[in-house]
Symmetry: C2
Subunit: 206 residues, 2 copies
């Protein structure tokens, strides 16, 4: 049950909701909720907002199918913003883009933090493609042994690059290792989230 | 230069700004900007908001030192929310918490997407600790060869677990591999962002 006592709705009875993909970490959209929409969100386990333009409850994805399954709701320190961590069923933006924040006001930033999660989602989708058109699909469809072999190889190559101190080699081999580790996890039916959970468990017991 | 033509400020001349850590992907806070605060943000390369309670420009961290260096500003599809990707100098929240969203309204979610980035930041900080008190510090301070050796070992162990199909072993060994890979990168002076940038480069050229 949501505890409403610490939520500070504004003078219109609204609170902004930041929606973040729980798998990739990407910020998908900002929308608004009132108390009724949060009650509906809790009941459906899918995000229901208050549409300020249409002045009605807005069950996101009701018509498009691109619903947002709720994983977790968090409240900020002064209770006037909510962070909704979700599993999106499709693109969050009405334009068809994954995130509503597809326009940059400044320069593009390379190597961003949410990239591994985005790559994982991409590979997960690619695994069922035609193996003639996708290296990832061919690797996964040929069974776990081939991915395993690559992880062993890349692990040793990364180790050697680190030991010898060849900076560019380290980047190149570690990228290979990360890619093949993701492919190996996919062939084993293990999710990236299970690895983070295992690391989190160890980390918090230290 | 920020292009203001697509920014839709509200009736008070404000726009909500979602602040995300560019290294961990964690959502840190939500604040508000007006045109003047965005101009100051651009000039200082650090986040400057409009304080709604104090009705004045608020250069975040000016007194606490916990500034937010701007990496990228993004605008959403309808121009009424900004995503600021930043490098924080310290905890973003006035309570001393890393993120203002430290309270959960629902259940805690294990293994979340931003965990790898958070672990990386934690290990980066740990590397200079007393090696007698921190395994990570001892591993890094004994030079890259020892971390390299662990990566080679864990790579092969992960490979074997995947090949044999032992699900729990895969999770355990892959977690070990990820941890030691991060340690190995730290000993080599390579950042996680350089690995994501390398993967992004390959990914976009496919």
């Amino acid at each position: 049950m949501i505890d409403y006592t610490n939520i500070n709705f504004d003078e219109k009875g609204l609170i902004p909701v930041v929606v973040q993909d729980g798998e990739s970490g990407e910020v998908l959209m900002v929308a608004y909720a009132n108390r009724q929409s949060l009650e509906e969100t809790e009941k459906r386990k899918e995000m229901v907002f208050w549409s300020r333009s249409r002045q009605l409850l807005w069950h996101k994805g009701e018509t498009s199918g691109n619903t947002l399954r709720v994983m977790e709701l968090r409240l900020d320190c002064d209770g006037d913003a909510i962070l909704a961590v979700v599993e999106p069923a499709g693109p969050a933006c009405h334009t068809g883009e994954v995130s509503c924040f597809f326009r940059t006001l400044t320069e593009e930033m390379p190597g961003k933090a949410t990239f591994p999660g985005q790559l994982w989602k991409y590979l997960k989708e690619r695994q069922h493609h035609n193996p003639k058109e996708s290296y990832t699909a061919s690797l996964i469809q040929s069974g776990p042994k081939r991915a395993a072999q690559k992880i062993g190889e890349e692990g040793v190559e990364t180790a050697l690059a680190i030991a010898v101190g060849e900076r560019d080699e380290v980047i190149y081999e570690a990228a290979d290792l990360v890619y093949h580790l993701m492919v190996g996890l996919l062939s084993s039916g293990v999710s990236l989230q299970e690895i983070w959970a295992e690391l989190e468990k160890r980390h918090s017991s230290h």
